[in-house]
Amino acid sequence: MSQQASVGEVVRVASPARTVRQRSANGAAYTMLVPWLVGFFGLTAIPMVASLYLSFTDYSLLAPPEWVGADNYAYMFNGDYRFWPSLTVTAFYVFVSVPLATVVALAVAVGLNRKMRGIGILRSVYYLPSLLGGSVAIAIMWRELFDKNGLVNLVLSWFGIDGPAWLALPQTAPWTLVFLHAWQFGAPMVIFLAALKQIPSDLYEAAELDGANRVQVFFTITLPLITPIVFFNVVMQMITSFQAFTPAFVISNGTGAPLDSTLFYTLYLYIEGFGNFRMGYAAALAWVLLAIIAGLTALAFATARFWVFNPDD
């Protein structure tokens, strides 16, 4: 029991005690962090450093790597005719589909956040597309949906629009990937649902007493309180979408066709590393991507203080 008192005291006393407290906090934090530290160094950091090294080598996977200096990076910006198209289509995908999927996910989550008969089934149904993930069935179905005589064009024809064979044209093919992403919003939706449940209900009760309508409640209470989760979803989706692989692999059978218009950056990197036996170059591509994502993530964190709710403030 003596510890109780001491903890309570040191909170308020001056620097010598504070350093002691700090040291003990460090100790507690680092002991609890041991599993993560082991995993981080053993399973994440070492392979990362290894791949950084490999990015300066010619590495076929089949024979030991050979040091080539910055050749891989030089070739990327000067000579590689598939690098820019793959980066462009990936950036398009990220900046269009991430906001779209986030809005859809939040809207559906708010809609599903109610007590109602059969709500569990409804929730499961909305999560369904994400359960199917990158399965072959989705691939075949998506291709048929967006074919010349597919369901999408049928619906468009009701409005007098003559739709193309979406996956045949380099202008329209990337959109099918965006739609696929927007349709598989299950993960952010579930996270939003969980976040909505986290909001103390007394806040809503107070708002109701004040006579606020549902839209007002959403924008004054719900949205501000879940901004940490909005932030999380946007940042995480950006990070994973830049590395999106399965959708493109599934839609184009791993070819990136037509005209490399569905050649996601990671698909290209994979083709180079495993298909063309240039893992050194693939590693260089990966590190350039990391630099891009890290820059954008840092930017997101820098802006967070202006719009993300922080209970510590």
Binding site: P35, S51, V108, L132, V136, Q198
Partner: protein, 270 residues
């Protein structure tokens, strides 16, 4: 509002209906008749698929289930405690560690998987499930750590400060205060871990090689016909894909209840 939701649900359920209907069509009808109603109904794809390989398909289900279950335990234990430390404790180099953790998420795994494979191979762990489940106990899924951090930070700090005043150490605060308050987040972690592990193809492909160790996604890929160099098995693929969805739906349906019944008010323990 509910009407819109039900209408949207049709859009969501369409792929499953399509897949199910395709699994009931004879092989030469699947790509000829794209409508949801089979012209010639057959149920043969299900028994044929179940016994298509030299081991029954149920073995793949068991293998997948074991891996997913262990992965959930691992993530629940390791990611939550790590997230708590990052979200609540002040310690030296916290921001540096956190940045490094996020950085680990940004490198495509295709280039780190080779060094990882070499490490597990040197440890003689290839062709066991350990390379797939051991990392989960070491909080390597930074996605979940970050997710939990965001959830924990939204819990009012007064609660754990009060507990701290009462003499609880950081670990006690974590177990008694934080954990019960983030049930929805824990449910989320469980659902995602199950689904993503169940559907994970690449690492299972690399680490599980022997025929009796294969998992559902590995078996499904073997049913995929892409080159046409053999009599195709699309019907069987769709049939087995339908079956493989059932555990996912069941798990989701079971866990999502907890999302509804999650803690409705804070301050229960304060």
């Amino acid at each position: 509002m509910p009407a819109v939701l039900v209408l949207g649900a049709l859009l969501m359920v369409y792929p499953l209906l399509w897949m199910f209907s395709s699994s009931l069509k004879p092989e030469d009808e699947i790509f000829r008749n794209l409508s949801l109603i089979p012209q010639a109904l057959t149920f043969q794809n299900y028994p044929k698929g179940w016994t298509f390989f030299n081991v029954p398909f149920s073995l793949y289900f068991i293998n997948s289930f074991v891996i997913a279950a262990i992965a959930i335990v691992g993530n629940l234990l390791s990611c939550t405690i790590t997230a708590y430390v990052f979200a609540r404790l002040r310690f030296r180099w916290r921001n540096l560690w956190f940045s490094l953790m996020l950085l680990g998420l940004m490198l495509p795994h295709h280039v780190t998987i080779i060094p990882q494979y070499i490490m597990f191979n040197n440890a003689h762990l290839v062709n066991t499930i350990l390379p797939l489940v051991l990392p989960k106990f070491l909080a390597v899924d930074s996605f979940f750590v970050f997710l939990m951090v965001q959830f924990i930070r939204s819990i009012p700090r007064e609660l754990d400060e009060a507990a701290t005043m009462d003499g609880a150490g950081p670990f006690r605060v974590f177990v008694d205060i934080i954990l019960p308050l983030c049930t929805p987040a824990l449910v989320t972690v469980s659902i995602f871990t199950f689904v993503w592990t169940w559907n994970d193809f690449f690492s299972q492909l690399l680490y599980l090689t022997s025929g009796d160790k294969l998992t559902v996604p590995l078996a499904l890929r073997m049913l995929n016909s892409s080159t046409g160099e053999a009599t195709s098995t699309w019907g069987i693929l769709f049939a087995m894909s339908c079956l493989s969805i059932i555990p996912l739906l069941a798990i989701f349906f079971f866990f999502q209840r907890r999302l509804v019944e999650g803690i409705a008010t804070t301050g229960l323990k304060g």
